[in-house]
Structures are given as C-alpha cells and as structure tokens.
Symmetry: C2
Subunit: 144 residues, 2 copies
DNA sequence: CGTAGAGTTCTGTCTTGACAAAACTTTGTG
DNA sequence: CACAAAGTTTTGTCAAGACAGAACTCTACG
C-alpha cells in the first residue's frame, strides 16, 4: 500500500485512540475510510494493515457494537464485509453528549457529599449547559 | 478521609482519564474539587490520596500547564498551594474544539491522498460544522 | 453430515505505563 | 551562606494492554 496512506492510517488511529477508541479498532476504522475498493473483508483489512485476524476480530466487533461500522455479506460470498456507517460521526458525538451527562451527575453527587461548594457548582452548571444545548446543535446539522 | 468521598474521587479520576487526563492528574484534580479546606499543598494532597510526592509532582505540573489548576504561594509559607481555576471546564472544552480541528484536517489530508471520497467528505463536513458552531455556544455560555 | 473457509476465543510473550522510593536540585529563611 | 523543607527527576519494580499464533467453533455448501 501507498506509504503516505499507511502513515495517514497510523495517524488517524492515534487520533481515534486519544478519543477512547482502542488502537486496533482505530486502525481498522481508518482503513475503512480510505479502502479502495470500499467494503473490504476482514482478510483484506488484515493484509492491508499487516495484522493478524485474531487481533482484528474483537476490534471489528467493537466498531460494529458502537454502530460506527456495519457488517454485512454479499450474496454468494462467504466472508463478511465491513463499511463505515453513514452518520458514524454523529453517533460518536452522541456518545460524547452522554459522557457530559456523567460529568454533570458526578458534580451533583459531589455536591451531595460535600454540601454547597462553588467549585462543584461551576462544574455542574457548565456540563448541564452543554447537555442542554448540544442536542439542538445536532438538530441544526440535521436540517442543513 | 470519608470513604464515600474517596470513592467519589476514584470515580471522578476514571472519568477524567477517559477524557485523556492521566490517572494521577485526574485524582489530584478530583481532590482539589472537594478538598476541605480548599487550596491544599502537594503534601496534603499526597497524604489525602495516599500517593507519593514523586508521582504527584508531574501530575500537578500537567494540570498547571493545561491551565486547569493554578499554583500559588501564600505569604510566609514555603509550600505551593493548588486550586482548580475558575473557567477550567471552559478551557477543557476549548481544548476539545482544537481536537475537532485535527479531525477535520485529517479528513482533508485523506481527501488529498485518495481523491473524492464520500466517506471522508462526510467526516470533514461534520467536524467543520462543529468547529464552526461550538465557539458560538461557548460565547452564549459566557453571556448567561 | 463432512469439509473448508470464516470468525472467535485463548494463550504466551513482549511492550508500555504507573508508581514508590531514592537521589538530586531548588528555594526560601535565619 | 548554610540548612531544611519543597519540588523535580530518575530508577527499579510491578501491573496492564497489545498482539501474533494456535486452538477452537461456527456456518455454508457440496
């Protein structure tokens, strides 16, 4: 494979990893974004990335469970194919919004434990604000 | 220390860790949110958390560098004190927006390498949208 | 049903990261 | 300017995670 593309994939995987996606899953996702032809099999992914199928299988399962990637089979073929789902990025952001909720809950629980505490109040108000406003932003994207 | 509070701190640290903050730094940040009295020294943090000062020092430096925590010294004392900065959460979100920019750049570089590619276009458009809209959301919070 | 290829799970090895303790450096005060 | 306390950096040890390869299971077709 083109070395420039190989480097792109590694860089993408590192960025995804910083966002909480396991390394191998990030590599697979990155490859699926640029694979030519698209919709490769696990075997093709493994060969392109130079990794074993034993390591790939859980990674692909992870991406499918997150609904970032879909798994399907073409008529007459006996190997599954994989593709990035349209809307994968929105899905990822929605997960992010859920995390904001956890931050807010954490702050609320902290307030319960420590009583009035300006530091925790600021935290709670901030994340409550985002939790309230971000869905509207997503809707706006939808409309556009 | 109150066991419930100790559990709260560990949980907070895990949540922060998922967001990319190193474990020890997350613990310190969590403690600073609930420390009573506030503005502890490194020694007090270490004793409360049961960790060594050698592990704490880089962690506190990290939080200070990110501008999440400030380091200062009271007149007549010879140990630094630490406190969560007001606006720390906004800062954290601003860092997040920068990361969105990296996602967009990555998609653009991928488009350059592979030519027209609907998968990458969707990715680029999504992150470009967020990068454009999120600062306005922050401004709205400012005003409120 | 048997077989071959696809997919998953397990196992051993290697790498990476985390932390305590110790060594070292800096800073502030008498 | 010496001493003590604070802060940083280094080092050794231990735990956790990643991955290849092997073993195993499942599925589809003959």
């Amino acid at each position: 494979m083109d070395p420039a593309l190989a480097r792109w994939i590694e860089e993408a995987a590192r960025l995804f990893e910083a966002g909480g996606i396991p390394r191998m899953a990030g590599r697979a996702l990155a490859f699926l974004l640029v694979a030519e032809p698209p919709e490769p099999t696990a075997k093709e992914i493994g060969e392109a990335l130079g990794v074993s199928k034993g390591a790939l299988s859980p990674a692909l399962g992870y991406l499918v469970r997150l609904h970032l990637v879909e798994r399907f089979r073409r008529r007459g073929e006996r190997a599954d194919r994989y593709a990035v789902r349209p809307g994968a990025w929105r899905k990822l952001l929605q997960e992010g919004i859920k995390v904001l909720g956890r931050y807010r809950e954490l702050a609320e629980r902290g307030l319960f434990l420590t009583g009035e505490n300006p530091r925790l109040k600021e935290m709670r108000d901030f994340y409550a604000f985002l939790e309230r406003e971000l869905p509207a932003l997503l809707a706006k994207l939808e409309g556009a």
